[in-house]
Symmetry: C2
Subunit: 255 residues, 2 copies
Amino acid sequence: MNSLHFTAESSSDGMLERDFTVGDVPGVLWSPASDATDRAPLVLMGHGGGAHKKHPAMVGRAQRLVTGCGYRVAVIDAPGHGDRPRTAQDEQEIAELRKAQAAGEPEGPIVVRYNARLAELAVPEWQATLDALQELPEIGADGPVGYVGIAMGTALGVPLVAAEPRITAAVFGLMWPDALFEKAKQITVPIEFGLQWDDELIPREAGLALFDAFASKEKTLHANAGKHFEWPRFEADSATRFLARHLGQAVTSSA
Amino acid sequence: MNSLHFTAESSSDGMLERDFTVGDVPGVLWSPASDATDRAPLVLMGHGGGAHKKHPAMVGRAQRLVTGCGYRVAVIDAPGHGDRPRTAQDEQEIAELRKAQAAGEPEGPIVVRYNARLAELAVPEWQATLDALQELPEIGADGPVGYVGIAMGTALGVPLVAAEPRITAAVFGLMWPDALFEKAKQITVPIEFGLQWDDELIPREAGLALFDAFASKEKTLHANAGKHFEWPRFEADSATRFLARHLGQAVTSSA
């Protein structure tokens, strides 16, 4: 088992930010600056395609979870993203995607295939990262674990949550269902799922079909008027409340 | 114009509850017990079929809006409901509804027809009530007004919001669309709309079609796994946050 090595540390806006590696995979762990050693629920976050572990969307969500709920939040760079090298196959997929976008052709088939390949790599990386994070005394092996990932974060996260019984609540959305149906049918933990009602990339029926596929007894669809990239910011607050409902509050030493 | 007459007053759990009449229509106005005279946004709530203005669902939602947001909340008894007499036609519709329910036959056609008739009466009653409420110094003619009504509260509320430019945000859900499509297409204010993904009474496609019909640029669908009567309680909190986002905070004298 690869253990976790911290490689850098800084603080801002009430969050302690620690870069780490687990094997070759670089990640970041955010904790409350005032309370980084007490046990608290852990949220794993998957970043979007073309983004990375410290993308502003990740930092913004982490801020809500860390300073709002006292949680710990970890993100790792997906294969070929952030500080990780791209393979020739990554470069080729990305070139095909850019070509399709430039030509106004559907990008769904390329994204689905590319992300499905990344998911095969990312699931064991996430599991090794979770093993290593749970070795930290401030997280521990028996605390609640949630997952949040939209778009590529869903493409990698649905197979992860299907494979990983330690994750007990998840937030997904904005992804073609094609490669995910079978994994979604294996998921029974509570989920919150988002889609854009006027998504010009992912057909409405495709998004509804993916939501329908989850076997979860408790699942909520949030569909907002607007196009793919008009995903409203208040959904990040909703995701935080969803996780707080299912993971519970942080356990602090004074409690 | 009928003015508003207060007929009873009591306080509990931080809420001042005042019964009132506007003409023949009985209603209730809830305000913060500590702050009943300052101006604040007003929320009109429509109760469900067979219920009344002080049904526990109304009191619970009012509690969130009044003590949580400092709002004023008003509910009136729908025609044939609560303290209002039933006509022979009401009795006949209700008998048909009970018969269909007992026989396991679809109740949609009866509810749609019955509620459409009630809406014709209820819309002018609500408008007269709003006129009278806005005469109160603590509400005033220029403050924000929202509407919340699920099930029959939607059947009566969609025509109301379509007709009433003073209402600038609304929460709807759980109703057959048949009598409401044309009115929904006239509504452009922000809405939050709820349906049950496994509703055994209202077909999923019918609920999605009604959500789709609203012309609102900002609209959010919340679909939860579960049957018609399994509507989750956390949606009442979500509705409160939605209204707070659009109506703004109460204006208190100390602000």
